[in-house]
């Protein structure tokens, strides 16, 4: 279905609004292909078509929501009735409501590439098979590949509301991922790598193969390190993970509800001097780029931390109204869920130096390969941070022995303040985050006594 078809469905429901009723409808349609290769064969090929609709109704300051995984007329009609019914039992809130147009002009961003639809399935199969073959043959120590996968999707999205907002877009994406295995005595070591782009031709298979292999074999012979205080070196993938966790606490809903360690700290120094980051969906180079947010407002750059000082928070229309700051165009949503403020395209400003130069500058440190247990080990309310880690020790500026079965502990607040170096090479990751490598000084590493 085209964005226009979806918009027509959304507008048809919006047109059913009665007096003093606000309605916002989001619709989407997608087609996807997933191919998994295993031992030189296609393990599975999945083709999928999904439809979705989400209906938000506001009446007398009360909000109700309903969603469905089909655009069948009978179900769609039921969903409007369900959303109205849910609103009836909700509570009045003066700030609740759909987004109102705010005059910000949307940047024109084309997220569509023809390559996904133009590439025959056989070529996509070959890509998955090639990825598996290359990882297996890249190094004698690689003993297997758990899975090598190719996936892509084409999708269309439309949103309409009684406030007169209409937005529609279409987008493509494609990705490859692989998990390599290597025997290490009785143990099996694994390494994972992936890449994502708007079409298959832009996927960097060489980089994925190199990373999957090096992440696996460079950890062979890992032992538990001694408990120590170390400098953490995070390559862009890991820096994106850690800084993404911090930036994820800078949302209007967390702040208004007292659930962020950064409540009431705008204008204060919360990070090391030299650290600046923003959410910038208008940067075309980011995979998180978009013209409109999840409520149909124009996406715009939102400064979060500037030279170590907290500048503000991400808002959707609800938290924008309630805080008095207005929406920053930061609503994120799936079609099936209510919008909430969140990150689209986190962008960290580069400093200077390559990853190798950052490593060379560290006396006793750890180059992090994986962080494990992030969803249980990071408390976004208190900021407590304690996660499992694997990587290579750094001694006198040189990479040394691989380590595992250890944890690092700090707080999100401390991690920001303890950044001691920011690299110069920004990588635009498939997750939408764009960041250089960073070094965080003086972190507690727990291992053997």
């Amino acid at each position: 279905m085209s964005p226009g078809d979806l918009l027509a469905i959304a507008e048809r429901i919006v047109d059913q609004a009665v007096a003093n009723e606000e309605i916002e409808v989001a619709c989407s349609h997608g087609r996807s292909t997933t191919i998994r290769a295993y031992e030189g064969e296609v393990e599975s090929l999945t083709t999928a078509e999904t439809h979705a609709i989400g209906v938000r109704v506001l009446a007398d300051g009360r909000e109700g929501f309903a969603s469905a995984g089909t655009l069948d007329h009978d179900v769609v009609t039921d969903m409007l009735a369900e959303a109205r019914d849910n609103a009836r039992f909700s509570q009045t809130d003066p700030h609740v409501g759909i987004a109102q147009p705010d005059g910000v002009e949307a940047v024109d961003i084309d997220l569509w590439r023809d390559g996904v639809e133009a590439t025959p399935n056989q070529d996509k199969i070959d890509l998955a098979l090639e990825l598996e073959r290359r990882v297996r043959s890249a190094d004698d120590r690689i003993t297997g590949v758990r899975v090598a996968a190719y996936g892509d999707s084409v999708g269309a999205f439309a949103l309409a509301s009684t406030a007169g907002i209409t937005a529609s877009t279409r987008a493509t994406s494609s990705s490859v991922s692989v998990q390599a295995l290597a025997l290490d005595g009785e143990r099996t070591q694994t390494g994972y790598a992936y890449d994502g782009a708007r079409e298959p031709a832009d996927l960097d298979l060489d980089r994925v193969v190199d990373r999957a292999v090096s992440q696996t074999v460079d950890l062979l012979g890992s032992t538990k390190p001694k408990t120590a205080t170390v400098d953490l070196v995070l390559d862009p993938h890991l820096a994106a993970t850690v800084l993404g966790l911090v930036a994820g606490t800078l949302t209007g809903d967390r702040v208004l509800k007292g659930r962020s360690p950064f409540v009431d700290r705008v204008g204060e120094t919360v990070a090391a001097t030299g650290l600046s980051f923003s959410d910038d969906p208008t940067d075309l180079r980011s995979m998180g780029a978009d013209s409109h947010d999840g409520e149909g407002l124009a996406c715009r750059p939102v400064p979060l931390v500037e030279d170590g000082v907290l500048k503000g928070f991400l808002h959707d229309s609800y938290t924008g109204r309630r805080s008095g700051h207005g929406s920053t165009g930061s609503a994120v949503r799936g079609t099936r869920g209510l919008p909430s403020p969140g990150l689209h395209a986190l962008a960290v400003r580069p400093g200077a130096g390559t990853l190798d130069e950052l490593i060379a500058g560290v006396d006793l440190g750890l180059l992090v390969f994986t962080l494990a247990g992030l969803h249980s080990g990071v408390n976004p309310v208190s900021g407590d941070f304690s996660v499992g880690v694997e990587g290579r020790m750094i001694r006198n500026g040189q990479l040394a022995e691989p380590v595992n079965e250890c944890t690092i502990a700090s707080t999100l607040q401390r991690l920001l303040l303890d950044i001691t170096a920011i690299g110069g090479e920004v990588v635009h990751l498939p997750s939408g985050v764009s960041t250089p490598p960073v070094v965080i000084g003086g972190v507690a590493l727990s291992g053997a006594a």
Binding site: S44, T47, F65, M79, F89, T188, T190, G373
Partner: protein, 454 residues
């Protein structure tokens, strides 16, 4: 149509799911939501290649198009036409006394409000409360070219309340979650006010907490929520798909001693009312009680239809999928370490200096290496055989196969833990787990205090 491309196995999976949820946060109803999903997934297997297509278009045309797409995806040489006699497999859907859809929304909202009021009034330090209920009814129908025709009607209801307490040392959180494969009668078994008080008390206790130690210490895990450790650290490694790919630390170890003789590990999809219960799995096979490790000896893995067929054995009823949009794979149901003989107070008394984990949070495991990490959501020091000071959150880290060998005591106080959602390859399914009190000789604890004497 699905077998027209030469497939050896074809399956149609139809699903209709209705969900309702309410979320109360920050002193108000944040959202009341409903959802509906229905569709069909069609799977065709030729040799070891699987073709899969799904559609929400339930017209004959839509279904045939999906069947054709799945057949094309699994295409091999030759054509097959197969007439299949479908035979209905008897099932016993869970008993539901009160359908959640029949409960007035005002009643549901009232539960949330009561939880909020009680939690807030329990102490001035409680600065934020959120409460949530979610109910679902999932009806499935499976038909396949082996002649199976089977259906199930699965209802689940859950409730959770989470509190933030503010103190001089910052914010701390505490939560309580219950969920069963039952209807609204869940609230005849659990009192939401009691749950709210318990969540508030957890958050308040942690305000007084000191940093968790760092280093290697003996650990006593309390009954209930510690089951997630065995789900993650051992259960995943016993899933036949991972075993067959060499991505399990338990591959090739059937019949050998993989755990302390005190350990009996069971996966049981038939446990009455438990969160991971069902009558049939998502391939139409009846749920079963499967003993995985018995007195420390590895007895069997868990199997879905695909992996079982390749090995010439029956499925163990562990073929599950998140929805009709997903391929089934080997998944756990209710996984638990069976109770032992020892009095739990004797277990704590046997530890001179260690950590008592009353509640474990989520975790993550690398099934290939067996390495895991888990969050300690509620933990205390053990000093001189007694539980003493509360600890701030920290991570437990270890290796599944090693921990199984290092279990030194198993209590007689078995309990199931809170309901969980297990993620694997991007699919989430409801699971239960449980343990009695047990003692692990040593685990690495990642806290911010020094090792030994915090």
């Amino acid at each position: 149509m699905a077998l027209s491309g030469g497939g050896t196995f074809a399956e149609v999976f139809a699903e209709d799911v209705q969900r309702g949820s309410g979320h109360f946060d920050d002193g108000r109803i944040e959202s009341l939501a409903s959802s509906r999903d229905r569709g069909v997934g069609i799977r065709v297997v030729a040799d070891q290649s699987t073709g899969f297509a799904h559609t929400a278009d339930l017209t004959e045309r839509g279904l045939l198009a999906a069947a054709r797409a799945a057949a094309d995806a699994a295409r091999r040489s030759g054509e097959t036409t197969a007439a299949v006699d479908l035979e209905t497999v008897g099932t016993s859907p869970g008993r539901v006394a009160i359908r959640p859809a029949d409960i007035d929304k005002a009643t549901k909202v009232d539960l949330l409000q009561r939880a909020d009021e009680v939690a807030r009034s329990s102490d001035e330090a409680i600065s934020q409360v959120s409460a949530r209920y979610a109910d679902s009814r999932r009806r499935i129908l499976v038909a396949n070219s082996d002649g199976v025709l089977s259906g199930d009607d699965q209802t689940r209801t859950m409730f959770s309340v989470s509190c933030v307490a503010s103190g001089d040392a910052g914010l701390q959180t505490g939560a309580e979650t219950v969920g069963l494969s039952v209807g609204w009668e869940l609230f005849d078994r659990y009192d939401v006010e009691d749950l709210a008080r318990r969540a508030a008390r957890r958050a308040l206790t942690k305000l007084q907490a000191r940093p968790a130690p760092s280093g290697t210490l003996p650990v006593v895990i309390g009954p209930g929520s510690g089951g997630v450790l065995f789900h993650e650290a051992c259960g995943h490694g016993l899933e036949a798909d991972l075993v067959k790919k060499g991505a399990s630390a338990f591959a090739g170890r059937l019949g050998t001693q993989v755990a302390s003789p005190l350990v009996t590990l069971v996966d049981d999809g038939t446990m009455d009312d438990e969160w991971g219960r069902y009558a049939i799995d998502d391939e139409g096979n009846p749920a079963r009680r499967n003993v995985l490790i018995e007195d420390g000896i590895l007895v069997d893995y868990m199997w879905d239809g695909l992996r079982a067929r390749a090995d010439g054995r029956p499925s163990s009823g562990n073929g599950r999928r998140q929805s009709y949009r997903h391929l089934p794979m080997v998944r756990m149901t209710n996984t638990y370490l069976a109770g032992g003989e020892t009095d739990p107070t004797d277990i704590v008394a046997s530890v001179e200096h260690g950590v008592y984990v009353a509640r474990l949070g989520g975790g993550q495991v690398n099934t290939a290496s067996g390495d895991f990490v888990f969050g300690m959501v509620e933990a205390y020091m053990i000093e001189g055989g007694k539980i003493t000071a509360p600890l701030r959150e920290g991570q437990l880290i270890g290796n599944g196969p090693k921990v199984l060998q290092q279990i030194e005591a198993v209590g007689n106080d078995f309990a199931m833990g809170p309901p969980g959602t297990c993620g694997k390859d991007g699919q989430g399914v409801p699971v239960g787990d449980g343990v009695p009190t047990l003692k692990v000789a040593e685990l690495t604890i990642g806290g911010t205090a020094g090792a030994g004497a915090p």
